[in-house]
């Protein structure tokens, strides 16, 4: 392959992406329209209930005034609600009243007719009874009368979202071998290039002259692509009770969290003193600057293959990976925490008779704590993302391992449940560190 091929390929891909964007544009516009419309409705409703007299509502200039822009709680609630409603509507969720569902796949029975030509100009019409049943259910093929003429009536049973070939001539007197063929379906002429819609299904003629019956799928998502919310919830309940593949949910989560905490703690234990040394000594800064500046932009995910080669897929490898993910972030945070101390504070401490050790203990370390907490938030976030990715690649237990195993068995509801759990836990970690920060370094940003 040469370079011009690469450019041509990338140009093609770029075009494809823009075409995809173009195709979702109408939906995007619709979504924004919903947001704006709901805002208008909300304002109407609120104004009719209570105009409100907060200080912000008395400001005449609001557009561009950052202080008047606060997150609207009602909008947040509506936004999340809409996501669930859309989710439910497109999955036929039982939690939603059925009038909110988008059209689902055809289920039940339907009938169409076909008209066969025996090859000698004689035609005869027969009916086909179609039964579409839900996945996991069984349906008996209905018995039908053969009817008159050379074409006998047929019946066929199809599972929802599947299609089936109808060997219509099997019970007919005139076979395809002898020149019989179908010329019309439901009275409309049919050919290989021209399928017929019979109301509940699309009927097409195959190359071999059989009929391919494709019942309408509607616009709902198949459960294998997007399970309904209640299915996801049910999978959470069963898996937290019975576990997945003999490993309980608590064990999966526990292992992931344990790896993150271990990797982060060791990373902080090494990184913070390293950062202090870099912030306090020319020599140490010179020594470690090239290493830190080189390692910082290397995404921890890129280290996964090397860590697996070196340490295997056991716990050490993962802890080493997370250690490396946290190390540079914590070192840089501690370094900037030390460099960020105002020289007047150091001068003041010296003038008050403090020794170097006392200045480190009473001025430099407390002064660097806000930066270190900011670093800890970033590091924990990166570690949490990295552990999931590492488990996707290779692990025996862990939340990432759980979703990758579930995806192999197409247990999409477990995959989605896992993703939601990962998000919730990542958010909880961030909130936890922020609370700890508020409690331990109340002076942050007030120096």
């Amino acid at each position: 392959m040469n370079d011009s091929n690469v450019f041509a390929d990338l140009a093609d891909e770029t075009l494809n992406i823009f075409l995809s964007i173009g195709s979702i544009l109408p939906y995007l516009v619709g979504f924004i329209a919903i947001i704006v419309a709901s805002q208008t409705i909300w304002h109407r409703v609120r104004n009719s209930v209570d105009a409100g007299d907060s200080f912000n509502s008395l400001k005449t200039v609001t557009f561009g005034d950052e202080s008047t822009v606060v997150s609207n709680k009602s909008a947040s609630v509506l936004s999340v609600l809409l996501i669930f409603v859309l989710w439910g509507a497109f999955t036929g969720s039982q939690l939603l009243p059925s009038f909110l569902h988008v059209p689902g796949p055809f289920m039940g029975s339907g009938q169409f007719t076909y008209t066969a030509d025996n090859g000698a100009g004689q035609v005869d019409t027969a009916s086909v009874d179609v039964i579409v049943h839900a996945a996991g259910e069984k349906a008996d093929k209905p018995k039908v009368e053969a009817g008159d003429g050379f074409a006998a009536n047929d019946a066929i049973v199809i599972q929802v979202y599947r299609s089936k070939l109808l060997l219509w001539d099997k019970n007919d007197d005139q076979k395809r071998k002898t020149g019989a063929s179908i010329v019309k379906v439901d009275g409309q002429s049919i050919s290989k290039d021209n399928a017929v819609d019979v109301g509940f299904a699309r009927v097409a003629l195959t190359d071999k002259g059989t009929l391919n019956i494709v019942p309408h799928k509607g616009v709902q998502m198949e459960s294998i692509y997007l399970p309904s919310p209640e299915k996801v919830w049910k999978s959470l309940v069963t898996i937290s009770k019975d576990g997945y593949q003999n490993v309980t949910l608590g064990e999966h989560l526990g292992f992931s969290l344990w790896r993150v905490v271990m990797g982060f703690l060791i990373g902080a234990l090494v990184g913070i003193p390293l950062g202090y040394a870099m912030g306090l000594s020319n020599w140490f800064r010179g020594w470690f600057d090239p290493v830190v500046e080189f390692m910082r932009p290397v995404p921890p995910l890129a280290l996964i293959p090397l860590v697996i080669i070196w340490a295997g897929i056991g716990e050490e490898g993962k802890v080493v990976l997370l250690f490396l993910a946290a190390l540079w972030i914590m070192a840089i945070a501690a370094r900037s925490g030390v460099s960020g101390v105002r020289i007047t504070k150091i001068h003041a401490a010296y003038s008050l008779g403090a020794s170097k050790t006392q200045i480190l203990r009473h001025v430099i370390i407390p002064n660097s704590l806000p930066e270190i907490f900011t670093g800890a938030r970033v590091a924990m976030g990166v570690c949490w993302g990295t552990v999931v990715a590492a488990e996707l690649v290779a692990a025996e237990k862990g939340i990432g391992k759980m979703i990758v195993a579930a995806s192999k068995f197409q247990n999409t509801e477990i995959v989605i449940m896992g993703i939601i759990l990962i998000g919730v836990i990542g958010f909880a970690i961030d909130v936890g560190i922020r609370l700890l920060e508020k409690y331990l370094v109340p002076w942050k940003g007030k120096g």
């Binding site: 105002r342 007047t344 504070k345 001068h347 003041a348 401490a349 010296y350 003038s351 008050l352 008779g353 403090a354 020794s355 006392q358 009473h362 001025v363 407390p366 002064n367 704590l369 370094v441 109340p442 002076w443 007030k446 120096g447």
Partner: protein
């Protein structure tokens, strides 16, 4: 006793881009114990450099500084410093900030507590002693800085524009406080300021410095600090000499500023 003896001190340092700056040239000063000296001058006259040398944060390139005969070679608790702002420790309460000096010396809490309380009373912050310093206003924070410096019982107090970041009203109150503390404690005080009025009101002795190279341009001995102790400073400003001195020094500094501007224009 705390006599500060500054003998022929010069300061010259190289610039990173080549060339050098003569920040101070042949400064000679004798500051008697208990003197309140204010130092005034246009920007770049080296007044902060001089203060930093006395504090021990910078080493002079020539000359000699002695406090009671001992050469100064670094910062020390006998020379306390009050900065413009941002030198308090936000992670400590008001009280802990004030007792920082004694704490570092290892003085037991029980021993230092009465003095810390007395100083907090003196600067009027007794009821705020358990507050965090960032909860205090700018003027209150400077009171904490003053008390913290005094708690260490230094021989000399160095003030680097301590009231520069305060609003006019707070500033006037703080000027009275500085005078009262000076009278009460009898400390030697060197005060750097940008404000001619402040230098006149607070300086028992006033130095006007000139730039390029930094040097002492003129020196005054003034009655206003003595008059201002325990008195209304606005009354002191009505003193017949006050306005004439103010005009004299202002025009002196204006001339220097204009000279600097002219020179930089020629250079560029």
């Amino acid at each position: 006793m705390a006599d500060l003896h500054i003998d022929n001190v010069s300061m010259r340092f190289d610039l990173p881009g080549g060339g050098s700056v003569q920040a101070l040239k042949n400064i000679n000063l004798d500051i008697k114990s208990g003197q309140l000296l204010s130092v005034l001058g246009p920007s770049g006259c080296g007044k902060t450099t001089l203060l930093n040398i006395v504090a021990g944060f910078l080493a002079q390139t020539e000359g000699d500084i002695r406090l009671d005969g001992d050469a100064i070679s670094g910062p020390g608790p006998e020379r306390g410093m009050v900065f413009q702002q941002g030198a308090l420790f936000e992670w400590m309460s008001v009280r802990k900030n004030v007792s920082f000096g004694p704490d570092m010396k290892g003085v037991p809490k029980a021993e230092s507590a009465p003095e810390v309380d007395r100083l907090l009373e003196l600067v009027g912050l007794q009821e705020f002693k358990d507050k965090a310093v960032y909860e205090l206003s700018g003027g209150m924070q400077q009171r904490v800085a003053l008390a913290r410096c005094l708690a260490n019982d230094p021989d000399v107090i160095l003030m680097d524009e301590p009231l520069g970041a305060l609003d006019a009203l707070t500033r006037e109150k703080m000027q009275s406080l500085v005078l009262d503390l000076w009278k009460e404690t009898g400390k030697t005080i060197i005060l750097i300021t940008h404000s001619v009025e402040e230098a006149l009101l607070l300086g028992e002795r006033l130095l006007v410095m000139a730039p390029r190279p930094g040097r002492v341009h003129k020196e005054y001995y003034l009655p206003f600090a003595e008059l201002g102790v325990g008195a209304d400073l606005r009354e002191v400003k009505k003193h017949p000499d006050y306005n004439s001195k103010r005009e004299e020094i202002l025009s002196m500094i204006w001339e220097m500023e204009e000279e600097i501007m002219g020179r930089t224009e020629e250079e560029s």
